[in-house]
């Protein structure tokens, strides 16, 4: 099975690369103090009637002064905008701007064809690059409203945990694919299917009106009990045979419980070789001895152990070269793009040398893929890949 990923192939790839190159250039100007003039051609603002082939040709003609080599660099952004960059004073840019303004009088020139100065206006340029990459659309999506409620009492928790031992979780399981997509690939290749119970829904069903986020230690217990229930189902021989290349994000406690150990036994050597178990970084911190035990178990039994829920801020605290695990699941955060020089250097230095160990999760926008590619990361999980099925 392989799926076409429209935005990330052929033309889409080129504009992504352009966008990332432009962002890098803007940062370099800031770092070195080199001055540049930037003409932003906001062609995405044009109404459809002005985007016909005839108009496109006219625009191309108007662009001629900057299309000649050595005068300026032209970047094509996802969405159709163009960005031309030239050393000051940038008379070619002015020339292009004038002819385009004549060609397209419908939109005020300040809106359609803004001029920016680097390095002074680098932040503005980065913002528009990020907007073109679709980053802002996601950032502006309303955050889910956190449930307000009291933490459950110990007795309520015990009752919920008892209910979980027999609950049917089928409706609460979520599957998501982890893909390999390298720059230039036409199609993404599925590597593993991640399987996990959707905890907020399970909690809403079993602990109505109570909030687990108010009590982290209870949340851990609840998560573990839910995962044990899922594992008990997976350990049925028929289910286990169908598991295939799977990634199970689990809590530390669940991995050393009878249900997982049964699954481990039922899978056999071939099945175990196709399994990745991911433990959250917080699990390691909460119980290092338990983590060490699970790591020895993974080596002895032949499944792979990964570190899950790695945040950029955690990378320097838990350096991958110290842990040396076969899989590291790093969460993409928009801050990774806006990070300044030293922060980016620290982040890059924190990545494992073998980039094929890294899975970038939360890749919900194309720029996450571009960010990964810049660092040699080719394994991704997120909406940007899922949405194209």
């Amino acid at each position: 099975m392989s799926l076409a990923v429209a935005d990330l192939t052929a033309e889409g790839n080129a504009s992504l690369r352009d966008a990332m190159a432009l962002a890098t250039l803007a940062r370099d100007c800031v770092a070195s103090g080199v001055e540049r003039r930037v003409l932003h051609l906001r062609l995405s603002l044009l109404p459809a009637r002005l985007r016909e082939r005839r108009h496109q040709r006219l625009v191309r003609e108007a662009l001629a002064p900057v299309l000649r080599p050595t005068r300026a660099r032209l970047f094509e952004l996802p969405g159709g905008d163009l960005v031309a960059l030239s050393p000051p004073p940038g008379e070619h840019l002015e020339e292009v701007r004038r002819s385009l303004a004549n060609l397209l009088p419908e939109i005020p020139v300040e809106t359609l064809l803004p001029i920016l100065r680097l390095p002074a206006e680098a932040a503005r340029l980065l913002t528009l690059v990020e907007a073109a990459l679709g980053l802002h659309g996601t950032a502006q999506a309303p955050a889910p409203v956190a449930p307000v409620g009291l933490a459950p009492s110990g007795a309520e928790m015990d009752a919920a945990l008892r209910a979980l031992t027999t609950a049917n979780l089928t409706a609460f399981l979520r599957r998501q694919t982890i893909w390999r997509l390298a720059s230039g690939d036409e199609q993404a290749e599925p590597l593993w299917t991640e399987l996990r119970p959707h905890l907020p829904d399970v909690a809403a069903a079993l602990l109505p009106g109570r909030s687990l986020s108010a009590a982290p230690h209870l949340a851990r217990r609840f998560r573990q009990a839910t995962e044990r229930r899922m594992l008990a189902e997976l350990a049925h021989p028929q289910e286990a045979r169908a598991l295939g290349d799977a990634c199970l994000p689990l809590s530390l406690g669940a991995v050393t419980e009878a249900e997982f150990l049964r699954l481990d036994a039922v899978l056999g050597p071939q099945g175990r070789a196709r399994l990745v178990v991911c433990l959250g970084a917080s699990e390691l911190l909460a119980d290092p001895a338990g983590f060490a035990l699970v790591r020895r178990l993974s080596l002895q039994r032949g499944w792979r152990l990964g570190l899950d829920e790695m945040e950029p801020a955690l990378l320097p605290l838990l350096p991958p070269r110290r842990l040396d695990l076969p899989v590291l699941r790093l969460r993409f955060r928009p801050e990774m793009l806006s990070a300044d020089g030293p922060m980016r250097a620290a982040l890059d230095a924190g990545l494992p040398e073998d980039r094929s160990r890294v899975v970038l999760t939360g890749a919900d926008v194309p720029v996450a893929i571009a960010w990964g590619w810049q660092r040699g990361i080719t394994r991704f999980m997120g909406r940007v890949l899922e949405a194209r099925i």
């Binding site: 110990g154 150990l261 290092p288 001895a289 035990l293 110290r322």
Partner: protein, 316 residues
């Protein structure tokens, strides 16, 4: 602590061990895995023995105390025993059959008499931690510096409940630490806590959230080498932003900041520059030794008697 342990671990009746013993293959081996170490390790031992039982034609008996018995052919039986040792560090006994049949029988009779090892339910644990008398909440231990033997520091930390489950112990630590802070803030309760010795540097265990706002606990001057040390659980690093804010707050209030981990292997994995580390001392020095270390537990291994290391000693 009887009331604490109300939940029972699932068990297979062990009363038929004599039948199991009779059914053990001649020329095979009886593997007896005593209930030791963490529950996680015991469950793994059980899974390995069950796998050996499938391969080696036998079955696993679990005794009331959690001891496990397997009779199997020699190959799978001994491989399981070796795997258990590698994974959990616990040694299972191996008795070649039939020569040792009577010795195994004696071992089983002994195991039959052992009492059940049980995990507390959350409600039981919560109730236990809530009702523990103030006097039993905390432990006061003393620390000498480097090559010295005279105590220079004292740690006021939550009592350990000795649970064979790291998660339950962490939950209990959290509840006890909060009660400990509340007791320190209340003059009446404070008198019932172990009495702090004047002149010794204070090492205080804090819950995940750190020191509550307005806690009446004075730090020292920022440059005072004897300013008190706040020990946060390693788990609090999981939120780096929150931790940084907490650390800054504590430092501003005149505290040195440290991390307490339940196992020294954390030193090999976690980089925390500028923080004091408190870990149970291992026989061998860790590969990554932090500049400032508090070695917990006794006896003190030789490598801990070195500059920059506070090691546990006897009370003054």
């Amino acid at each position: 602590m009887g009331s604490l342990f109300t939940g029972r671990h699932q068990q297979i009746p062990a009363s038929d061990w004599p039948a199991a013993l009779l059914a053990m293959p001649e020329g095979g081996v009886a593997v007896f895995s005593p209930a030791q170490g963490s529950f996680a390790g015991r469950r793994i031992a059980r899974a390995l023995l069950e796998e050996a039982a499938v391969l080696g034609g036998g079955h696993v008996v679990e005794f009331p105390g959690g001891d496990l018995l397997l009779g199997a052919t020699t190959g799978p039986g001994n491989r399981a025993r070796q795997a258990i040792a590698e994974l959990t560090g616990q040694t299972a006994e191996s008795w070649p059959l039939p020569a040792n049949r009577s010795a195994v029988k004696a071992r089983c009779e002994q195991a039959q008499a052992a009492s059940a090892a049980l995990l507390p339910t959350l409600a039981g644990l919560e109730a236990h931690c809530a009702t523990l008398p103030v006097e039993d909440l905390a432990c006061l231990t003393f620390f000498a510096d480097g090559t010295g033997t005279r105590p220079v520091a004292q740690r006021l930390g939550p009592a350990s409940l000795g649970l064979a489950d790291a998660e339950s112990e962490a939950v209990a630590r959290e509840w006890l630490c909060r009660r400990l802070l509340a007791a320190l803030a209340d003059p009446v309760q404070r008198r019932r806590l172990p009495a702090l010795r004047p002149g010794l540097r204070l090492i205080l265990d804090l819950p995940l959230g750190g020191l509550p706002r307005g806690a009446p606990l004075a730090g020292g001057a920022p440059d005072d080498p004897n300013r008190p040390i706040a020990l946060l659980p390693l788990a609090s690093l999981a939120d780096p932003g929150g931790f940084a804010a907490m650390e800054a707050g504590l430092r501003a209030a005149g505290w040195a900041v440290g991390l307490v981990a339940t196992d020294a292997c954390a030193l090999d994995w976690v980089e925390a520059p500028g923080l004091v580390w408190a870990v149970p001392a291992t026989a061998e020095p860790p590969a990554h030794r932090p500049p400032r270390l508090i070695a917990l537990g006794q006896p003190t291994p030789g490598w801990c008697r070195a500059p920059g290391i506070l090691h546990e000693g006897t009370s003054p």
